[in-house]
């Protein structure tokens, strides 16, 4: 049976798509954005997270680890001995304080659907539904597709959040499985795009164009364009280019997702090394100024 690899489920999510939603976070992403808010989502394999602030120094983890990958406490961790990628969960199960947790849990469509159905009444009363996020949900498309179609056949509205970097051949399937696509643009200039995400933007823009053409004028289907707002793409010049680009595609609204630095703690927990960004969060005034750059499309801030 096909299984998905997820790292979180968030219920009562009211900021990603319309209504009350349940968000499912899938592991694995082809992009590697410098500011990635969920850095634990990029690697398509399970990873071990250690929250030092929660640790009660009980050594249950090191006592339980059959590989001796943890010596006394997880601060002394020998990564290449650890078998978490092979499905080992012993230390996180032994940890009483949830300091050790594993991002990356295998789940079947039925198991996931059961969890989703628990909140069906809330989706119905609010025109909400389920949203697949990540990571990049198309990275596990065969599972995600099956899951979303199962949701639909249970009368649940479906959405995905995508970076747009997927095999163009699945575009039709996305259309079939999703009522809403939350499409994240990063940058229109290819060179910069490569620099800040590690990938070219050509396929992303092409996929967007295709999706727009299929979704266009279809009842109860919607594409919402979003853009993380980071110092690499927030120049007036680039934003005006975005506006022009969207108008050309007959899209007249954009959601801006301002960068925040909350992910930095995750980098520590997962022992991930990334380029340090010397940028701080946007102030209210800055966001107001940026909003005012746009004259012909509607801008909303947040998720």
């Amino acid at each position: 049976m096909i299984k998905g690899l997820i790292f979180d489920i968030e219920k009562y999510a009211i900021h990603d798509g319309p209504g009350i939603r349940t968000l499912v976070f899938f592991k694995g992403c082809p992009l590697n954005c410098l500011w990635c808010q969920n850095p634990e989502s990029i690697n398509p394999n399970p990873e071990l997270s250690y929250k030092k602030s929660k640790c009660i120094n009980c050594s249950k983890c090191s006592e339980s680890c059959p590989e001796h990958a943890i010596i006394k406490n997880p601060r002394n961790f020998i990564k290449n001995k650890c078998k978490v990628q092979d499905g080992c969960r012993i230390c996180s199960k032994a940890c009483p304080s949830t300091a050790l947790e594993i991002a990356g849990q295998e789940i079947t469509v039925d198991e996931l659907l059961t969890i989703i159905l628990e909140d069906k009444e809330y989706y119905e009363s609010s025109n909400g539904g389920v949203t697949c996020s990540g990571g990049e949900p198309t990275f596990q498309w065969s599972f995600v597709k099956k899951f979303l179609l199962a949701c639909k056949s249970n009368g649940i509205s479906t959405a995905i959040e995508t970076c747009g970097y997927f095999n163009p051949q699945i575009t039709e399937e996305i259309f079939e499985a999703c009522d809403i696509v939350l499409f994240d643009l990063k940058h229109l200039d290819n060179k910069i795009h490569v620099k800040i995400t590690g990938r070219q933007n050509e396929m992303i823009l092409k996929n967007l164009e295709n999706l727009i053409s299929i979704f266009k004028d279809v009842d109860n289907k919607k594409i919402i364009i979003r853009m993380p707002l980071v110092p690499y793409n927030d120049s007036k010049q680039h934003l005006l280019r975005i506006e022009e680009f969207l108008i050309e595609k007959e899209i007249f609204s954009l959601v801006l997702l301002p960068y925040n630095s909350l992910y930095k703690q995750k980098l520590i927990n997962f022992r991930l090394k990334r380029t340090k960004l010397k940028i701080s969060s946007y102030s209210k005034e800055q966001l107001e100024t940026i909003k005012n750059y746009f004259k012909n499309i509607e801008i909303s801030i947040g998720g």
């Binding site: 209504g19 304080s97 009444e121 809330y122 009363s125 609010s126 909400g128 947040g302």
Partner: protein, 806 residues
Amino acid sequence: MNAMNTSHFNSSENIENNKFRYDDFKHLREIREYMVNDKQELCIERSRFITNFLKEKGGLDYEEENIREAECLKNYLQKKKANIFPHELLAGSTTAKRKGIVFYPEYMGLGMWPELATMSCRKNNKYMITIEDIYELDQEILPFWMDKNMLELIRRKVGDDNRGLRLQTLMFLFMCSKYVCQSHTIPNYQMVLDKGIVGIIEEYKERSTVSSPEQNKLFKSFIISLEGIIEYSNNLSKEALRQASQVNDEDRRIQLEKMAAICKKVPANPPTHFWEAVQSIWSTMNALYQEQNNVGFSIGRIDQLLNPYYQKDIQLGLMSRKEAFEILAHFWLKIGDNVPMIPEMGELLFAGTGSNQAITIGGCDKEGKNAVNDVTYLVLDVVELLKVRDPNLNARIRKDDPPDYTRRITEVIMNTGATPSLISDQVTIPALEKIGINLEDARDYAQVGCLEPSSPGRTCPHTGAIMFNLIGALELVLNDGNMLKAKNIGLKTGNILDFETFDQFYGAVKQQIKFILEIATTFNNDLGKILKYLKPQPLLSSLTEGTLDSGKGLLEGGAKYNSSGIAYIALADLVDSIYSVKKLVYDDKIISFKKLHDALLNDFKENDVLYHIIINKIAHFGNGIKEVDDIAVDLINFLYDESRRISNYRGGYYNPGYWSMTIHSGFGKITGAMPNGKKSGEPLTSGLTPFSLGQKSGPTAVYNSLAYLPAEKMPNGMALNMKFNKTLFINQDKIALFTSLFKAYFAKGGMQCQFIIQDADDLKKAMEKPELYPDLMVRISGYTAYFIDLNKHMQKEIIERALMEL
């Protein structure tokens, strides 16, 4: 209503454009400031009059008790100070003070005796009093009551060795509230409006011609006490005329003359107009509060009571919506003109409580048709603007509610941060039917006290009769009949180490609960008999449907429906603890019962790992996990059967409910560590709100767990506190999601829910600088309190309760 003919509004205008601000009224802000900020003064007027009366007549044995009480009440109502305060549109006041504490020496009055000199400078809820009044209480009033108050009378009846009395005095396992009050009911204001007091008197007179001598005596007492209301109202009328003759302001003179006419007419006669209807209710309330304590004495369905008068006045152009708003706003502020008297020790249990006079809006009519009306919206507007603690507003929620209604409710919750609390018709009406209330009467239900549903004007529900500490029963089982702070008070259920199976352990818990329940209800029934002698309540009896036909007083079971209410406290802690023992000791055998017990006795001090396993690895109630929630269902079914098995002293039965005001904090203080991770002295869970440290799945999971419970087995109501961070609701779309959330909860079968919409930062700031937050409201459990009135312990709890945010 010509006196206030200054309106710019009429009923046909959109509700949206029809909201009022303080600036629209000359004096509303000023009156509100007075009611919120001014000092509360202890009022001894009532005590003085009833004491003198009884002294003169030779004490409690003067006449048959109903006649004695009626004469005593009438005598006082004749002399009660007739107050009309500056700019106010309603005549009369609960006490002689503008904002007063009623002193009831026959109930807990003596409990205040040692504190009389210090209560004006205690930390929370200061009461002001004059030296002269202290002197009079010390010398004249309290000595008379030393052998005549509830506590003394029960002690003499049952003897000091009585188990119920001992446990009651300890207040570890239960608390019978009859020391403090009976109240917790809704008088039949509909009857007062429809017939007028004169009309009601006529009915009793007529019936007297065909009744037994005993019943005649009873009806005579009803008539005497009802006459007292008329005399009081006449005095109010005279006072209005007196003030009118002395006032310089022409507008006020006209107003006072109008008020004089109104008080001459109502409540003696049925009102014709809106203002008259409101005054009629208010004058009647004033009188009722002189008969017995002002706790949980509720008003009922104000929108249904007042709408006919509102519609008529509006249609005939006699009154504008704005004028109605002002009258209703004054009424709202007047309702809060009295605060229950709580001795310092009681502060621990009932921190920050108002008098819990519940008002209910919305719902349906007798045929089951949606009954939301113009006054419903008027009430919401008033509550939104005034933001005051009392009265306690409850909104009934139905599937067929107009969208405007639920939208306005959400807005008012957002803007007040706390009120109204919500109750669902879908499950509440069947719950009432199940306990024998007919469908028509069940459809008419309103909330009493905190949140206890009751069919108004025809029930004697004493919904707050017993507060029962469930976790205390568990502590008794864990320690073979002992509590950590009191030995040999429970049933000896045996050494826990001898429980070979989970079922044996669980069975012992149930046995222990039954044992205490038996003691508590027996004691409550004993108290009821005392009450029947000391406070038979002829006035309230006369204003309750059923007494006319049965020829019996309220405490003899004369009401159409009779019941007593039990509030079971800390069900969530009990469920979690039982599940925890099941998993740790019996199913997964992670630890022996001995070791678990040692860890509890040691307050988890050397068992950090165990503590964390319990908090993080053992499921808790409120996460939508069936295995755990099933224990809650089983216990609720068990408690329903056990409670409904026991009859009270009025021929009714005990109804179980799940709410705790702030008592969970006090009961938590005296109980030790528990297998669910509650540490020694920490507060228990409030109402049916899940344990905050065990909540891991967000608000929908909490709702799912609560909606899974059998609401029809909770006829005495339940409280679920949901705390939301304000930042969740940044725009209209998100606010609409809040409405969707509670509607789905109720569609799934949820019974009740109330909210705290606050920033934790707000609360922390208020704790540091209380003077800057005099009107910061928080919802405790079934009622709203001013945050700064709470003790530090409660303030911390409110702050720490898990913030349900993303």
